[in-house]
């Protein structure tokens, strides 16, 4: 039987999807692609220089396509395009049927056959279920739920939390901008070489 006793949300691991400046304040997010509050939260967080970990918390009795969509994001991840699929899913929550997923996969130039196989695979299902279990153990009961400094914040982050994250991220953004500039310069050098 799966162990569902209380446990703090796991630290960032190999399997996690992480984005944002490395020095930014850490936000661990449990969310579902069919949940409008999660899309709103995604937008709010994308405007901050925070380091984000995204974990799946699909609740199919509430959002029938949630688990399928999580599977699609994980299948894209296996082709190195997790965040691109993540953004594409949140960008248009009204189009979440299979043909819409194929359309997104094509736009991201994914290998479509592989995408179809992977998103239905047991490995992907287990990957998604693993996130769900870690969320349950950490006391997640609603989406989105954010963990900041070990504290659970259910729902769309309010002004207070956003302000705290903004203050905590001062400096991190500069670093990330600097990193972007360095990377851009490097790419330019590589092109000219």
């Amino acid at each position: 039987m799966a162990d569902l006793r209380s446990a703090a949300p796991p630290a960032i691991g190999e399997v996690d999807h992480v984005r944002g400046p490395a020095r930014g304040p850490l936000v661990i997010e449990y969310a579902d692609y069919e949940c409008p509050y999660c899309a709103r939260t995604d937008l709010l967080l994308s405007e901050l220089a925070v380091r984000r970990v995204f974990r799946h918390f699909p609740v199919p009795s509430k959002h029938p396509r949630a688990r399928v969509l999580a599977g699609a994001a994980e299948a894209a991840a296996l082709q190195g395009r997790f965040w691109e699929m993540h953004d594409a899913l949140f960008a248009d929550q009204g189009r979440i049927d299979d043909p819409h997923l194929w359309e997104r996969a094509r736009r991201l130039t994914l290998d479509l056959d592989r995408f179809e196989r992977d998103r239905r695979s047991e490995a992907v299902a287990e990957r998604v279920a693993g996130d769900f279990r870690s969320g349950l153990r950490a006391g997640v009961v609603t989406t989105p739920t954010l963990f900041v400094d070990g504290t659970l914040h259910p729902g769309v982050p309010g002004p207070e939390l956003l302000e705290r994250l903004t203050v905590a991220s001062i400096g991190a953004d500069f670093i990330s901008k600097n990193q972007h500039r360095k990377a851009a310069n490097r790419r330019r050098r590589e092109r000219n070489a």
């Binding site: 162990d3 569902l4 009795s61 349950l136 997640v140 259910p154």
Partner: protein, 154 residues
């Protein structure tokens, strides 16, 4: 709030189909009662949708889960359908809130139950109880599994 170690008060309530469920008939099984304020309130919705996802694990652990609120069996039926859940819901409807009162979780002022969880062992003894500090706070499913482990170790 009813304390662990005490005998759970007996009850007979109608479920969402109008069938009577008695505590006596559940002897031999671990029972988790989920007291909640009202059908169709947004916070309850999340609570039961998440609990629905752990039903297979609860079944494997030999646990029967029931929701309990002051709503009628007919309202429960509609609520269950609206949520798309199979967790049975018991109508603590007449006399209103009597079972919640017996378990010490009735809010007399508002006429509804507090948000609370009660675990009753196969012998009918309360093993664990939890009341949310506010109706907006949903107890995580992890607490149920912590309580199961404690009960098994006791």
């Amino acid at each position: 709030m009813i304390e662990p170690g005490t005998r759970a008060p007996g009850f007979a309530l109608a479920d969402q189909e109008g069938n009577e469920v008695t505590l006596a008939s559940l002897r031999g099984e671990t029972v988790v009662l989920v007291f909640y304020p009202l059908d169709f309130s947004p916070v309850c919705t999340d609570q039961f949708n998440v609990y629905q996802e752990i039903l297979p694990e609860l079944e494997r652990a030999g646990v029967r889960m029931y929701g309990v609120s002051v709503d009628s069996a007919f309202a429960h039926k509609a609520f269950q359908r609206e949520l798309g859940i199979s967790i049975p819901l018991l109508a603590d409807f007449h006399p209103k809130g009597e079972v919640a009162r017996l378990f010490g979780v009735f809010n007399e002022e508002r006429g509804i139950s507090q948000r609370a969880l009660v675990m009753i062992d196969p012998d009918g003894i309360v093993r664990w109880s939890h009341v949310s500090p506010s109706p907006l706070e949903i107890p995580g499913a992890n607490l149920i599994f912590d309580a199961l482990e404690q009960a098994a170790a006791a």
